[in-house]
């Protein structure tokens, strides 16, 4: 079943339809939040749960002007910002806490990338993740991050430059 059908049913408070929507989108929402929380699985999953719960409560307000995924990312990012504001200074995470994947060279590059992401600001990390890994257009990402298109583009540009510098310095 496609998103619009499931959304129409979920708006009528059909839990099974919302469950199907959650199954379809949970991986990307959790992935985005995992990157923003610098690999903290527990916090990322808690925020993802809050994101979907808020989506369930507010699904009646979803007008379909944007894709459902974009709407979810917007909620997820605002949840993350709220969490970041509440976080005590000693809870600042400085390095990637996720598990290190074993195996091929590609996964080493991936771990290096995740570590490099921890050096970016939240808007830079979110902008790059949305535009590249999640495949959103610049307009969609700007909408999800609630920022003007020009600001998004400068976050992407600055984030890329930082990543290039960090990854270029590594042996």
């Amino acid at each position: 079943m496609d998103d619009p059908t499931l959304i129409a049913r979920a708006v009528r408070k059909d839990v099974a339809a919302f469950n199907a929507l959650a199954r379809l989108h949970q991986s990307k929402v959790r992935g985005l939040l995992l990157r923003l929380t610098r690999g903290n699985h527990a916090t990322a999953d808690d925020l993802a749960q809050e994101t979907f719960l808020e989506a369930w409560r507010g699904i009646g307000n979803f007008r379909g002007d944007s894709a459902f995924a974009t709407w979810l990312y917007r909620i997820a990012y605002s949840r993350f910002l709220m969490h970041a504001r509440k976080r005590k200074p000693d809870e600042q995470l400085d390095d990637w806490q996720g598990e290190a994947p074993s195996g091929e060279a590609a996964t080493h590059a991936r771990v290096d990338l995740e570590r490099a992401f921890t050096k970016l600001s939240a808007p830079e990390a979110a902008a790059l993740t949305m535009c590249f890994a999640l495949g959103l257009s610049n307009t969609e990402a700007a909408e999800a991050l609630d920022m003007p298109l020009g600001t998004l583009k400068s976050h992407v540009l600055r984030g890329r430059e930082k990543l290039k510098a960090i990854l270029g310095d590594q042996p």
């Binding site: 469950n19 990157r35 290039k164």
Partner: protein
């Protein structure tokens, strides 16, 4: 690292996460969320019940000294209200 390599690395999809446990927990939270109005109603009803029982006790104490003017209407009304509210609490508890 050149731009092409960086773009390729950035475009790698995020690792797939298993939906199982996550959606089970989410559905539990949604069920809990849906039961919230019923829980609030049951607490309001319990509060009203307490007020009614207190009023009944007060009325009984007053009537102890005025047995001649005892009126069955008030205790009957209080009993009916208590019964109705008890049913409401039981229904709310069942829905919760």
């Amino acid at each position: 690292m050149n731009d092409t390599d960086l773009d390729a690395l950035l475009s790698t999809p995020l690792p797939e996460r298993d939906a199982g446990e996550f959606t089970v927990l989410l559905m539990e939270k949604i069920a809990h969320d849906q039961a919230r109005p019923a829980r609030i109603l049951s607490w309001i009803t319990v509060g009203l019940l307490t007020v009614i029982v207190a009023a009944a006790c007060l009325y009984g104490a007053q009537m102890m000294n005025h047995a001649a003017s005892f009126n069955f209407a008030i205790p009957s009304l209080l009993t009916l209200l208590t019964l109705a509210l008890s049913v409401a609490v039981m229904q709310s508890a069942r829905e919760g």
